[in-house]
Assembly symmetry: C2
Homo-oligomer: 594 residues x 2
Amino acid sequence: MKQPDRIAPEETVGGPTAPTAYRKPNGDSPRTAGDPICLPPGISSARFKTFLLRLAGICGEDNVTAITKEEELHHESYLEPSKCHDMFSIMNKEAFIASAVVSPRHTGEVQAIMRLCNEFEIPVWPFSIGRNVGYGGAAPRVPGSLGMDLGCNMNKIIKVDVDGAYALVEPGVTYFDLHNYLVEHNLRDKLWVDVPDLGGGSVLGNTVERGVGYTPYGDHYMMHCGMEVVLPNGELVRTGMGALPNPKADPNAPAYEQEPNESWQLFNYGFGPYNDGTFTQSSLGVVTKMGVWLMTNPGGYQSYMITFPRDEDLHQIVEIIRPLRVGMVLQNVPTLRHILLDAAVHGDRKSYTDSDKPLTDDEIDAIAKKLNLGRWNFYGALYGPAPVREVMWQVVKGAFSQVPGAKFYFPEDQPDNIVLQTRHNTLQGIPSVTELKWVDWLPNGAHLFFSPIAKVSGDEAVAQYALTRKRCEQAGLDFIGTFVVGMREMHHIVCLVFNRKDPKSCEKAHWVISTLVQDAAERGWGEYRTHIALMDQIAQTYNFNDNAQMKLNERIKNALDPKGILAPGKNGIWPQTYDAKSWAIKRPSLASLR
Amino acid sequence: MKQPDRIAPEETVGGPTAPTAYRKPNGDSPRTAGDPICLPPGISSARFKTFLLRLAGICGEDNVTAITKEEELHHESYLEPSKCHDMFSIMNKEAFIASAVVSPRHTGEVQAIMRLCNEFEIPVWPFSIGRNVGYGGAAPRVPGSLGMDLGCNMNKIIKVDVDGAYALVEPGVTYFDLHNYLVEHNLRDKLWVDVPDLGGGSVLGNTVERGVGYTPYGDHYMMHCGMEVVLPNGELVRTGMGALPNPKADPNAPAYEQEPNESWQLFNYGFGPYNDGTFTQSSLGVVTKMGVWLMTNPGGYQSYMITFPRDEDLHQIVEIIRPLRVGMVLQNVPTLRHILLDAAVHGDRKSYTDSDKPLTDDEIDAIAKKLNLGRWNFYGALYGPAPVREVMWQVVKGAFSQVPGAKFYFPEDQPDNIVLQTRHNTLQGIPSVTELKWVDWLPNGAHLFFSPIAKVSGDEAVAQYALTRKRCEQAGLDFIGTFVVGMREMHHIVCLVFNRKDPKSCEKAHWVISTLVQDAAERGWGEYRTHIALMDQIAQTYNFNDNAQMKLNERIKNALDPKGILAPGKNGIWPQTYDAKSWAIKRPSLASLR
């Protein structure tokens, strides 16, 4: 977006602490012993030490960690992710790194941290657990931000209500946690959780970032109900019916401990403006509790896979999907996966080829044949009692049978097909981490997601596939991707796998994604979510009417967070206290990669 | 909410025009000839005349009407509603009245009007068509506001997309218009519109006020996609994917005329904060275009009615509804109606009784018997091919058969049952105005809606019914109501019918609703929407944590609308330029009604 040259607005920033500088990245200022790898912008070593002491006074010493040792950079496992940087970094590891990480023990501490950060004018980057693979993990946009790890201590399932079919959770509750709770309490025959591909992420965090799953409840934002939010100034709001006090609540308890209204998780909208969406993909509040609707057991379930033999079947397949999905004959969020995504779950690249060039169509055909899969593979499910499923299956099978060579499989037909067995679980809300394996396609595999929204149209699917595959191949990468079919569109998820220990490979991935963002915008395609390194660029593509949306977002940001404390730069929104230009990310050129 | 004594913040108000007073109601200042019935607060007769001339310069003289004649107050028909006051006013007709009404011809004029109103510091109250019966019609909260009639000239169906199953509409498009469009273009076999009880309202307006309908697409907010909004300062935003330019758009055209992004109506969320909800039930923007998802023809349909003989069946019925609805066996938004709502459609009160006391249970039983209906009557529908419907019907019939005396009817069984015949249409998206008739229960019938959210629980339904009936009867009114069953809750709609030409009757209705708002809050029940006279009171009940939500709403309001031009007081949100206390509505006391 256009970032006019601004003067620090003195009426809103500043205050009792050091005079506010217009925040720019730190230069090569000398570091004293014990300093973190990266200090917050404009904050001296001494002042930072004072800040950490105050922070420890709020949350206890054990819950404050300064990122001082190089070793802190080396957490690289999804199961034990780094809390301070992006384990799948495409730039150097210090490009996006926290100065320290704090783990509040309860919402009252989140409020106190927000007030402290305002006092010290130190940016804070909240995360639920720190997974968020492909989009930046736990890493902050502004290096030197305080990382706020909400998941470490705030991980209670506050309530599962069977009658109302909902749960109320804290940020640290993972899909595994919630599913296991249902299993352990013998509720799995009544209630299902909708889960994304990987079950280790936060239910709340995924929803707030507008992630998706694969049952009929796959639109996680649509299926949330009620939020508790700490605003940048430390105030606590409950949205929707949560704004109405429960008469049984103890008025002397802190607000965040008060028994909530019984309708909080039953009705989203409450009275007056419905603000929940404003707290998603945003830097306007820290969500500390969230309601999530659970799917009731549909009384029957059958997953299936359909394989399509030819690359060029894509057009016809998508044209068949559209009316079925919009008519809810495809009842859930199905996926149409490129063969290499499935292949990568079954084995790494070396197991298929010795070539270091992008795989040719002939080579890809050979892999499909070897795996007994199609060039495109569709995973769906039928929900309901047998007679309902039979009707749906007749329609589904009839429609896709129009594609010559389409083959239909149930999981029981293919016990060794890891992907089908996994999707069989995922599509009924049983979480797993099996699909992590495709990241190992390359040695030291890591990935970025390029995630444009696509019309459910053969023409658009083919055009997006052609473009993204071409750009991948230009950079020497294989195309790996999937179309995730929502209510009226597809999230086209392109998985850019790279070797995280090879700087050239990282740069290639960065070149591909930044080039694709521009390519896509020129065609009217926009991304639904992105890695921190791409946030500015993507925000700048949503620039209708002279960046009217960004101006609106900035106005709200500055009203709620005048000092620009909370997640500055998140999704391209820079507070008035930051010089956006000086935080710009340099895009690599293709020439430099040769 | 708490409204601290505030001083007009001089850095945001004022400007090139007259010095800004802190807005209070006009006193009995002398009126000159040609003055409207009510001037905008703080605006002189001469200045108002200048304003109208400037307004006519924008929209043309024919599209500006000063409300100068008493006759303007007498539009009292749903089909030709007043544009300046509430035809179902519970206070005197001038309590909520516009100074003038302007009908912009296109969005560019809406932008110009917003700028002009900022220049003159005149409040503006937008409405789509001015129906909104039971909630205040077209009347503004602040008397003397400029009414902005968006429906008069801006009533185009911009697009119906069959593949994507959506429409893009302007504010003046009614449910009838959209349905008729489908019929006329032979699209009704493909697409259905979800309609509310009355088809004359605006599709956009109903959604923005978070109204509901009765098909599986009954949650209108959930099923909208994409908004174009004029902000209080006149800037134009498109939300979601609309913020991404269409590369084919003419960059020289005004923004509002530019060809929108092709995904605007396919994917709600776009990138970054999702702000649509903030523009619903709010005073933060004027929605000038909106996308609405259309339901695809489900391939089969069967509506039904189930009657339950006893008043005390309510508990059991609701307990049966809950699991069926949350499990989507009840596929749509069904309603459980009190007998008197149906009775009032079939005839006025006089046709049943000569008593002027609230009807007794015996009298109500007699009416039910006469009409061959139950004390409670449930209207639902089955969607899908015959085998699917049969499975659903077995479950539905089996469940409700547990209630002794339950009877099951299809519309073909009861050709003379006006309600069943109407619901048969409504539940498949065919609009009507038949149910207007229940308003004629009393002579000169008018109504208010008291609309609390209820858990889908027998205990809560019974408690809400007992309370609301008791309060109605205390004021000498009959209880007329319906439970509208959403995804996880019920909108309990209590229809307070009164005689609009009898001031005592109006006052009674006002007493009942204001008393019920307080009663409900004490039990933890909150309303989802309300009449302008009750907005402050209801907003004050959503006061968790020292009115944290209201403070948030005020902060956003003041950031986007520093002069408080757009719909001041809407849903209890008063801008910083208004002295909220001086606009308070006096609640009648029961004693005064005797």
